[in-house]
């Protein structure tokens, strides 16, 4: 049951920071829909038009570095992103994504970035911790969630997690 299917949007760049995910002037906005319109504006001004509900991001390492703004995972969630595949995530972004129940931060081997192209369709299997690129047929492993993260993800966010 733990399979997510979606289309990849590839931004193969390291250190995509919170200032480009949702620029500073939007920090005063707390309407989630409005934040979604400005997701990734600092990197790709047309980002929100390209994304459909259930899509995934594929990025370079240290995604989400910088600020603690929860606006970042909120904006990405609101525009439709349900998971991000990256070799690593900045800690507060990772925590916010999971604890807020917005999206799944999936850690992958850096070499796996080359196994997926922009617009490929993939399946993420959280039971076997594998990704299948259904466009190319290629398959690779993902890093399993630590126990606490797995439980919070299953609960749907920290609010629903009962230890």
């Amino acid at each position: 049951m733990n399979i997510l299917r979606g289309r990849i949007h590839k931004y193969n760049k390291d250190n995509i920071d919170t200032d480009v995910i949702i620029p500073g002037p939007y920090l005063k906005i707390h309407d989630h829909k409005e934040l979604g319109k400005h997701a990734m504006e600092g990197l790709d001004p047309n980002f929100s038009e390209k994304i459909c509900e259930g899509d995934f991001l594929l990025t370079g390492k240290n995604f989400g570095c910088g600020s603690s703004r929860e606006h970042a995972p909120i904006a990405l969630h609101e525009v439709g992103i349900r998971a991000i595949l990256s070799p690593s995530f900045a800690r507060i972004f990772y925590r916010n994504a999971v604890d807020g129940g917005y999206l799944l931060p999936i850690e992958i081997d850096p070499a796996s970035i080359e196994k997926i192209s922009d617009k490929d369709e993939i399946e993420i299997d959280l039971d076997t911790n594998t990704v299948t690129n259904t466009t190319s047929g290629e398959k690779f492993n993902i890093k399993p969630f630590p126990e606490i993260i797995s439980k919070i993800v299953k609960a749907g966010g920290l609010l629903y997690y009962k230890g």
Binding site: K28, N62, S68, R69, L159
Partner: protein, 451 residues
């Protein structure tokens, strides 16, 4: 280090610990691990353990506060009772990012926050235009709000700053802060600690900003991801409290969960005039283990600058000597403390700025001290503009944001694309001495030429 010195160090640390500090049955923990063990009622913890820690202090500001209010309203819709929070006396609020209110939306956020703090009886609400206020991280130390040995969480990534007080200070998002406000506790993974030993007599042209930029340049913006950065060594032992705060502030820029410095007489002296609250300081064990240790000789470090668009993109100031700059900015939690303003004034005194220069003290109390010391007159006479305390342009919010292609040299902590304004503006990060030297020359200048 020879065997004799090793033994002396060992004995000194042993006695200082046994006389002054809490005793634990288990040994071999860093200060970060000890604070987490105490807060989670465990005798000991080791890196990668997941603990539920009881929290001592919580902070929100005019960006994270409305975010938390939004989370509360979502939770209320789901039937969760939020008539009261866990402990309103352990919570404090600052208005800093978009103040004085920059437009109607930020004005509404301030009103929202005011009503919210009233509803939950949060008395420590630092409001602009109503006495002491300023950047949240500056208030945390300036007002003695966080004490050695405590766990402090704040709705801002630079919460790490306050770790210089010997506390475990960690930045969290809105959901996590909302959870702490309800429950008084939250989960943490115990981080590994990387130790940075800085030795040598600090030359007068070097500031803590040079040290931390050099470190970030060496380990990268993810070099301490999920980890604790602990600063120690003979240079750190002699650094003032405010300079230590610059080190821990920018541990965030290396991805660290927290930056920390063990409390000592400098910490206790600093707190003496700011709080009469009692606290139990914590120090690490002599046999604590570190995942890595980096050693620096400060006497060999040159003034450093971080080029756009990353704090890790560093070079010696001399390598960029003569580069034309459009604007100088002295502000933020990391670069507008009293000592930062003193160093700026040292260079600006009796000179005229050649480029647009903006000075934004980090808190009302610091602004007042700067007036009393004559620093503000020096800035104004030099031609700089002095703004009211605010995060302001550091986060691209308002009051001096950058235009397309505008090049700024700044005492702040980040220079990502668009951080201080237009996505094609450029920010160079440096110490107040380097920024002030650029202000009077209109180009990047080694501060040694101006001292």
């Amino acid at each position: 280090m020879n065997i004799l010195e090793n033994n002396i160090n060992f004995l000194e640390r042993f006695y200082s610990r046994s006389e002054n500090f809490i005793q634990y049955n288990e040994m071999g923990m860093t200060i970060t691990e000890k604070i987490l063990a105490r807060a989670s009622n465990k005798k000991s913890v080791t890196p990668d353990d997941v603990v539920i820690a009881n929290i001592d202090k919580v902070m929100v500001h005019d960006v994270s506060g409305p975010g938390v209010i939004k989370v509360f309203s979502e939770w209320e819709k789901k039937g969760i009772n939020l008539d009261q929070i866990w402990d309103s006396d352990r919570v404090w609020i600052s208005e800093d990012h978009f103040v004085p209110a920059s437009d109607r939306i930020s004005a509404n956020n301030i009103t929202l926050l005011t009503n919210w703090s009233k509803k939950y009886n949060i008395r420590k609400h630092f409001k602009y235009g109503l006495g002491q206020y300023g950047i949240c991280h500056t208030l945390s130390h300036e007002e003695g709000l966080v004490l050695p040995g405590e766990i402090y969480v704040g709705g801002d990534s630079h919460t790490n700053t306050t770790g210089a007080m010997g506390a475990l200070a960690v930045g969290l998002g809105h959901t996590d802060i909302a959870y702490v406000l309800m429950n008084g506790k939250i989960w943490f993974k115990v981080p590994e600690t990387i130790r940075f030993i800085i030795n040598g007599d600090k030359p007068e042209y070097i500031m803590a900003k040079d040290i931390i930029l050099k470190i970030i340049g060496d380990i990268g913006t993810d070099g301490a991801n999920y980890k604790a950065m602990q600063f120690t060594g003979e240079t750190v032992d002699k650094l003032s409290m405010e300079e230590r705060l610059t080190l821990t502030n920018m541990s965030t820029e290396a991805g660290a969960k927290n930056g920390i410095i063990e409390p000592d007489d400098i910490t206790f002296e600093y707190l003496k005039t700011r709080t009469d609250k009692e606290f139990i300081p914590v120090k690490g064990d002599f046999d604590a283990s570190f995942s890595n240790t980096f050693t620096y000789d400060i006497e060999t470090i040159d003034p450093v600058i971080a080029k756009p668009y990353s704090p890790e993109n560093i070079c010696a100031v001399g390598d960029l000597e003569g580069k034309i700059i459009d604007k100088a900015y002295i502000g933020s939690c990391t670069g507008a403390k009293l000592e930062d303003l003193r160093m700026t004034a040292k260079i600006l005194k009796g000179k005229q700025v050649k480029i647009r220069t903006e000075v934004v003290p980090a808190a009302q109390s610091i602004y007042l001290k700067a007036i009393n010391e004559g620093l503000i007159s020096i800035f104004l006479e030099a031609g700089a503009v002095v703004g009211p305390p605010t995060c302001g342009a550091c986060c691209g919010a308002h009051m001096g944001v950058l235009a397309k292609d505008e090049i700024c040299i700044s005492t702040t902590n980040r220079n990502f694309p668009g951080r201080m304004g237009h996505v094609e503006s450029q920010t160079y990060l440096a110490s107040p001495l380097v920024v002030a030297a650029a202000a009077i020359n209109g180009k990047i200048t080694d501060p040694r030429n101006e001292m």
